[in-house]
Point group: none
Chain length 168, copies 2
């Protein structure tokens, strides 16, 4: 089977390749390269993990203090549209952005609800089915997805059976 934990061997995503995608996107859409955009994209793509607008702006302003909020918002929107960024909501009112490194090489998560062990995995069959589902639902085209499985790891299964009733 092809189900096995994803190994993160290479720490450095190919920044140049991502920048290339960015340039392509700009070109194809008749958009312009500007100092601000280059700076924001540069700072964004070098990230690992997620970031809020405010913090990204702070980093950008270290190099160019005149950049405004609106430009960061607008650039992140472009990045999202071209598939280089993805938004995450963590429940506080702030949107975070993360590098959607390579959509085709996306990994999903399996989380043990007892011990919080988290495994990452990929499964091509599931992703293909997702595409089919989307197509069947009127002709959608999936550009990315988020799949989280919550379950019991073997170790945790030995103990207790019950549900988890409400608290408070």
């Amino acid at each position: 089977m092809t189900d096995r934990p994803v190994l993160h061997a290479h720490a450095q995503p190919d920044m140049e390749r991502l920048k290339g995608r960015w340039s392509d996107y700009l070109r194809r859409h008749g958009l312009k390269t500007t100092q601000q955009r280059e700076l924001i994209v540069e700072q964004f793509l070098k990230l690992t993990g997620h970031i809020a607008i405010e913090e990204l702006l702070a980093r950008v302003r270290k190099r160019n203090p005149k950049v405004g909020y609106a430009t960061v918002y607008r650039t992140l929107k472009l990045l999202t549209e071209c598939g280089l960024a993805a938004t995450r909501q963590f429940g506080d009112g702030q949107t975070r952005y993360e590098v959607a490194d390579d959509i085709a090489h996306h990994h999903d998560h399996l989380i043990c609800v007892q011990c919080s062990l988290i495994l990452e995995f990929e499964n091509a069959e599931i992703e293909q089915l997702q595409d089919e589902v989307a197509a069947n639902l009127g002709g959608f085209k999936v550009v990315r997805h988020k799949l989280e499985l919550y379950g019991l790891c073997p170790k945790a299964m030995g103990q207790k059976g019950g549900y988890c009733p409400n608290e408070s």
Copy 2:
């Protein structure tokens, strides 16, 4: 195929159980039962799927036009705190709420990244594959999952040949 929007045909018989949990919560916390709260909780618990504040308020106001936004927000917050509601973020600025007990009859989401159209679906094959994946990853047992597909709806795709069309 079995991919089709989820139809919410029947009402659920364990509504009374959920209402019981609500009453317990109020009692234990020294909170009061009011007409507005009863009405909001009633309308909320009969849901299958997710709902935005605005729509819930609309339904509530059909029975009592004087209910205000703030009361709905405040009541949903209580419902969330007592475990009867869960919040969802789909990337448009709106928080949606769903009945937390809905886990047994789980549905997934397909979201258009351009126009924020949200469809719900169920797919048994995907869920079975999820179980298999989990089993392969050392013997996990899946108890619930969250799957969100982000894509382009046909309408959003129609324009221009490129990647992400329609930027305002």
